[in-house]
Subunit: 144 residues, 2 copies
């Protein structure tokens, strides 16, 4: 571990995407880690927003979420902006198919070539908080 | 961006923890990113499991989740094991208080000194999938 930083390894990437579904291909050395993923209906995908991995964008701390009507300017930790100190994207996705080397998922908003950094099973009792409160601006517009 | 890897920057760390709540202190240069976090009841915290950041543990691809009765051996991408290629922890946490530099959160399972890598608002329509399916072994034992 370096001083206040660490090294991320890419474990796969988005190899194909269209409006309905997306294929993630896991690199050969990590494929053994996929066993059992198919026993879950949903996964949490962590990915690296590589186009925003530059000093300018990693230093942006405040944004105005444009896709949400009447959104105020907020800190990036109060938004799901792809621009943030560590450009990590997080999406909860429905699994359509899992093979030895690929995941096919429903509606995942990342371009082809996007590096994947982790896949975690979606665990109902840990990840689903149905009484969470959100500010009004989040409730209009797209999911994030 | 390096070849198949990237650099993570720590944005804060766990500064105090007890059985009920945990304090995360954000480093000075990132504090402006906290504005508006207090309008959410819950956040997703991404943290770096620094004690597992070594070649041996980052090469483990299969685990038997010990805290769950009758859990089978599974790939790490089918578990929330702290041992994985990128030792990133993910927890959905209830916010108790947000100040200019600190978050106080309820029940967060990370030791003092744990580096924080991102904070994201918990967005109901993106993150809460109440009809997700989990295998039986996940439903016994602790949350993750």
């Amino acid at each position: 571990m370096l001083d206040n930083q660490a090294k991320l390894k890419f474990i796969g990437k988005v190899t194909k995407t269209n409006t309905n579904n997306t294929i993630i291909t896991i690199f050969p050395q990590y494929r053994a880690a996929l066993e059992g993923v198919n026993s879950f209906s949903h996964v949490i995908i962590l990915y690296w927003l590589h186009l925003n991995d530059n000093n300018t964008q990693r230093n942006i701390l405040r944004v105005t979420p444009r896709r949400h009507k009447n959104a105020p300017e907020v800190g990036v930790f109060a938004s799901r902006s792809p621009v943030r100190p560590n450009p990590i994207g997080l999406s909860v996705c429905q699994l359509l198919e899992v093979t030895e080397k690929k995941l096919t998922i429903l509606q995942f908003d990342a371009i082809e070539g996007t590096p994947i950094i982790d896949i975690k099973p979606y665990i109902l009792k840990a990840d689903c908080v149905s009484n969470a409160l959100n500010p009004k601006w989040v409730r209009s517009g797209p999911k994030t």
